[in-house]
Subunit: 435 residues, 2 copies
């Protein structure tokens, strides 16, 4: 057998014998000629078999093919402009069924919940393939940016002895004679790496929240993109790295997949211009109020509609899809966010909003252990419970800050999907542990 | 203040004003002149302060410096061959203490267990920094190999509804109204991605084993390097990818860090030649017996001494540090390893041994659902418990295979360390959940 050619590579391949393999998407079993649409990880092509005495055996095989079966085909490639699908077809020589599919339980009309039950079939679409190829490109561009800029990759433990932030929404794990907790974020350990003198670190890994909510943006397990850097003057240094990272990521995606994204998702994906707009939290509240939206929350934080409104304002006035909302009030930020030197009520922190939805929180961290302890007490925390964390700051630590960002959210907004369930390989929610 | 220069970049920097920052490794506080060895994420350099009336304030600051404190220094860089440390020094102009360290609880003589308690201080050494910079380089080279070869990155769930392989050594997690399990490997989901038509996939992520053992090679949480590929003829295709991957990884590490590895670990790291040696399991048993080692196990598997012996044999006869032991008996392999067409008693699988220790298991997987079910029953498993897994094979699936490999083990053997505790960022064991 000739070696396998990816379907996407057939266009550049000379007419002649080729081997292709993939799964059966469509069979058109006509009396005089049979057509099979074969899809593989790269694309789809038409196989053709004229029915006559010489091809009877192949014709019988094709007639028996079920949708979703995986086959290997050796045949004659012919470029032909009249063929709608890619301007080429493969005339079947030999056909081998590697695995026969039972009747598929879902089709393109099936709703999201049942599609998730059969995610491995759901993902066979061009759409499914594109999402994860694009994600691969995006993550590789991010890591390349980090590596080129002297970052160190870390793999922080997901099993922890204590809660990383709050006891709420924490998964407990019986652990030999004690109890462990699943990490809600790598926050503490990223900071520990700063005390270890790592300078700049990144991690892409799972995070866990025992969050009982059923929104389009929440999951109990999600892939978190995290970075943390030392020797910063303020959260501005973090934002600069953050926007450069996303710029590099989008540039790689647009270059490699822009045309296919246009074809499949009907989105003309743009590389966001640098720098991203920055608007302070106080200004945002004013702008949102001027646009007629009243924030119902009493804690001073923004609500989802305020995020949409400020995104719309930025889009209208600056044509940008991203906006950093900066200097959040101390009241709505955790104790470890550093406060402004000039105004205790304001933190050196930000949220990044993309397409009207918050995708990330970043901040300069408080590295002075006495201040950290004071702020923890103010927030009602017990310093005794934080001893291990506070130790990170007692033996020297540089100024530092960073962000965490949900991968599936970025993907959801980039591809204008209604829910992260579409952009997560295998979604996990309160009632979803399978497959 | 001038912008920060990494210490490693001082050598290429012209004499003149520079800003450096890092932590205090050594203070030599002499009467007429003070020296500070400053280390940052890139290296170390000597700061100097001649004591006189003009420098009295700086001299007082330096006298008060504690080991491990983080400082920012602006000063005059001067290249001077007489200075042992890098042939340069920085004459302190201004010095700012960012964070004062309390007395450090460990030093270079402290044993591994206590060093782990204070891992963030332990890792401040050149050794610690090099390990994780090297790891970053290695992983980036692997991912670049995969991306260049058309692989898709996946993030498989760590929360599962059922055991991935066996009920032994499984962490249970109370999960809303039910129980979840922490994934022992991404095995099932990597295979699911093959049924989804992904073709070739990789993942670098955590895996969990409730393993009560205290060996130098085991952890309850570890970073697993996983790949899985479709349309293979045998495990040979998997081994080819596996050895190419490691070749690319070692080549990148040797190129970027070879000199520093020689300096710090006194190891002359070599790029392993392609192809890696392959010896069948049956032959290995013969060779090991000929070398005088009797395997005490009754199940036909190798033992650690047999692994060391075959590695020694390969090193002596072929000068190679790696060896694939192939065609393990079916009796010691899981039901999902494909068996040899000609001999049911033999699997199309392998172990990869590096420096005398097994670092990976790979195999072609059984993709025929009827055979898979039969083999599961033979191994004493309940097909009913495997329904969800077996479903992956009922709707079409290509031939496929892959491997899983422990990152910390590869690092341990590459750097000839006695335990993975040295090469894991934060080790997790039965009695170790902190920091």
């Amino acid at each position: 057998m000739t070696s396998r050619t990816l379907i996407n590579d057939l266009a550049a391949h000379a007419d002649g014998t080729v081997s292709v393999s993939g799964w059966v998407e469509v069979v058109r079993d006509q009396k005089r000629v049979q057509f099979v649409i074969l899809r593989d990880e790269s694309g789809s092509a038409q196989l053709v078999n004229p029915v006559n005495d010489d091809t009877a055996e192949t014709a019988a095989s094709i007639s028996a093919l079920t949708h979703g079966s995986f086959i290997e085909v050796e045949g004659e490639l012919k470029h032909d402009e009249r063929v709608k699908l890619g301007g080429l077809e493969v005339k079947v020589g030999s056909l081998k069924v590697v695995s026969t599919a039972a009747e598929l339980p879902i089709d393109s009309e099936t709703g999201i919940d049942k599609r998730q039950d059969w995610r491995f079939i759901d993902l066979r679409s061009q759409r499914g393939r594109l999402m994860f190829k694009l994600q691969t490109t995006m993550l590789h561009a991010m890591r390349t940016y980090w590596v080129d800029n002297g970052f160190t990759e870390i793999h922080t433990p997901k099993l922890m002895a204590s809660a990383s932030e709050s006891r709420a929404e924490l998964f407990e794990v019986p652990y030999f004679d004690t109890t462990a907790y699943l990490a809600q974020s790598p926050q503490l350990f990223k900071q520990m790496a700063q005390a270890a003198g790592f300078g700049k670190v990144f991690e892409v890994g799972p995070a866990f929240r025992a969050d009982p909510s059923f929104t389009s943006r929440h999951a109990t397990e999600f892939t978190s993109i995290d970075a943390e850097i030392s020797w910063i003057d303020s959260h501005e240094d973090v934002m600069k790295m953050h926007e450069e990272l996303l710029h590099a990521a989008f540039a790689a995606v647009v270059e490699k997949h822009g045309d296919e994204i246009r074809e499949v998702f009907e989105i003309d994906l743009q590389v966001p211009a640098l720098p991203f707009p920055r608007i302070s939290h106080a200004e945002v509240k004013q702008i949102v109020a001027d646009r007629g939206h009243t924030i119902e929350r009493t804690d001073g934080d923004l609500d989802p509609e305020a995020e949409r409104q400020i995104a719309a304002h930025v889009k209208e006035t600056q044509g940008h899809d991203f906006v950093f909302v900066t200097e959040f009030p101390s009241t709505v930020r955790p104790y470890y966010h550093m406060r402004d030197e000039a105004d205790e009520a304001v933190t050196k922190s930000y949220d990044l909003i993309f397409g009207g939805v918050e995708i990330s929180t970043g901040a300069q961290r408080e590295h002075r252990v006495d201040v950290l302890e004071k702020q923890a007490v103010e927030k009602g925390l017990e310093p005794a419970e934080l001893e291990e964390y506070l130790d990170f700051f007692r033996y020297g630590v540089p100024t530092h800050g960073g962000f965490g960002m949900g991968l599936a959210r970025v993907m959801m907004l980039m591809l204008q999907q209604g829910t992260i369930r579409e952009t997560t390989f295998l979604f996990r929610g309160p009632t979803r542990l399978q497959p």
